[in-house]
Symmetry: C2
Subunit: 396 residues, 2 copies
Amino acid sequence: MVEAQISITRELADRIREAESPQSQLVRFGPDKPLRLDAGVDLSPFQIAYQTYGALNAERSNAVLIAHALTGDQHVANTHPVTGKPGWWETMVGPGRPIDTERYFVICPNVVGACMGTTGPSSLNPRTGEPWGLDFPVITIRDMVRAQAMLLDHLGIGSLFAIAGGSMGGMQVLQWAVSYPERVFAALPIATATRHSAQNIAFHEVGRQAVMADPEWRLGRYLMEGTNPSRGLAVARMGAHITYLSDVALHRKFGRRLQDRSNHTFSFDADFQVESYLRHQGISFVERFDANSYLYLTRAMDYFDIAGDFDGVLANAFKGTPTRFCVISFTSDWLFPTSDSRAIVHALNAGGARVSFAEIASDKGHDAFLLEEPELFAIVRGFLDGAGKARGLKKA
Amino acid sequence: MVEAQISITRELADRIREAESPQSQLVRFGPDKPLRLDAGVDLSPFQIAYQTYGALNAERSNAVLIAHALTGDQHVANTHPVTGKPGWWETMVGPGRPIDTERYFVICPNVVGACMGTTGPSSLNPRTGEPWGLDFPVITIRDMVRAQAMLLDHLGIGSLFAIAGGSMGGMQVLQWAVSYPERVFAALPIATATRHSAQNIAFHEVGRQAVMADPEWRLGRYLMEGTNPSRGLAVARMGAHITYLSDVALHRKFGRRLQDRSNHTFSFDADFQVESYLRHQGISFVERFDANSYLYLTRAMDYFDIAGDFDGVLANAFKGTPTRFCVISFTSDWLFPTSDSRAIVHALNAGGARVSFAEIASDKGHDAFLLEEPELFAIVRGFLDGAGKARGLKKA
């Protein structure tokens, strides 16, 4: 079984410190600037942790916002301060990369509800001085985007040259285009959808139940009580991780190969490589992620349904939009299949938007957007080059 | 979150009683007749609980064995003694049904490792007088089949007219044809495969980790310690249940519809119908199933790999087989997709077997084999009619 291989005390202390005083750039919004949430309450004070790369040009016209996915964070193109691993999209973002930091000013904020410095359930509730836990209000994708718009205001950036993101990041991209069409020149929603499907809600619900079934979760008060629902969170991560890969990718990577042995052990040890791989995924995830944040962010994705805000007519969300779009999906992504991307494209077409669409042949499943996919890089680079010309950006 | 809505004490007592003295027909094999297991040990004494329907004819030529799936049991066509629900395949098995109990003598044994009266981890270990728990040896599909052959010997049935089963039941069907080709006249492997895929092993591993992460599991000793890992088992069941359905079926059944409310609650209640449905699936499952049995049976499926027993050449497993086969898959089954069934058919063809194959159009996913599928019923009835003629069986 998965053993918690970490010191609970040190880890919990680190988590609260990273939530309060992150190793990132930080903006704090005081009582005069509350974040108005869809839940009907104001979050105040609150803070946003973010990373930037490259330089804003004199015209302030080269800003690119990167929206991270469920388990991502602001460390898109630098070594992660907690794990020591490379940034999660270093192949995409950096000098000479498709999202070229020698040309663009790249901003990547941690989303509201997360655990790497932007206010979330592991942040301190100013009313009690203790971590929020489940007293943190349930947030939405629109809330994340609203907070990001406040960050742009703070940075003095009127409009983004582009915004890009995959999965939950793609949801933010779409919501940006709907909420602030005049502030988005070009949008790249990747491996995403305009609403979460019943199957995806179901998978999320299993993950949440796995967390909440862990007695160390303590109704969300584990940080106050010094416990750690790491086993429940590890199970949630293991289950989710399967959905990020394709059957073919799992087969190619592992097949039925045994782990460091030549025969079945006739036990519940990790006989198969795929078992020990999953256990590793679970263990390494809990070292860097907060269980309550997992609940809040999955909930935000479940609630996401753009058409629901437009009387069920998705096209109305994009009617007359000035933004140009590049929609991208992957053939083997069964979590956000190409049909979801086609629905986006149809709505954009119906709304009269300028849109290009690419379905990339890949057997790597949903995770393909994070991986070495030359066709993805070429498409993003080409789309941004074209948009840059239209925007009058200078070449790097 | 999922609450344990059952009295632990009563439930555990009931479980041990059902394992020892089931409300079924029962055969006990004494020390002279051990079950030789693939793990290299003898299980002895052991018992098999089974149900029968219809009558064996004078020639003893009309016996049909039904092999149940992971969470099934011997109560295929009668009211379940624990849940009070109809038998799990009453639409398929019964008077006038495709597997017609007015014509065939139907036998459905509970598999070794399960929890409804055939020896398994909740049975009493004769050496200690306590439930076996994790001291029960890890069993395989071949062990299940070997035990069933002993049951047939006991009943004086030399050869089966037919054997049918879906999913893990289909694995037993295939193993029967490989282990005892002369004892199987006709075989119906449905929605199954000759080996478990990496993705399926991965899903099983998550379910096992969910059970083992529950502190009430107590390293498998919960029956001795009076605890109940019901929350872990419920999470395992919820996750597995998603894989039994298709995305389309979930969408049709639930979509994003809310549960008894008109707006999101901005909480972690079951806002969506699909959430409360899954929670119900988890809760009702733990009322009738043993957590350790879940570990053992998923493990048996993971280990299943017929080609592995034949130097990787699947066709050799079926070379010169006298059995006639009817292989059936469902278009929307992504757990055991049609490609798995085609692999069976190719191997059977290469082995020179008599085989027919049907892929049934259904959007109900893997569970389709248990549901009202007229085309499935027609194919099973037609195949058995043809086989009955070849066998010289009288019409009912």
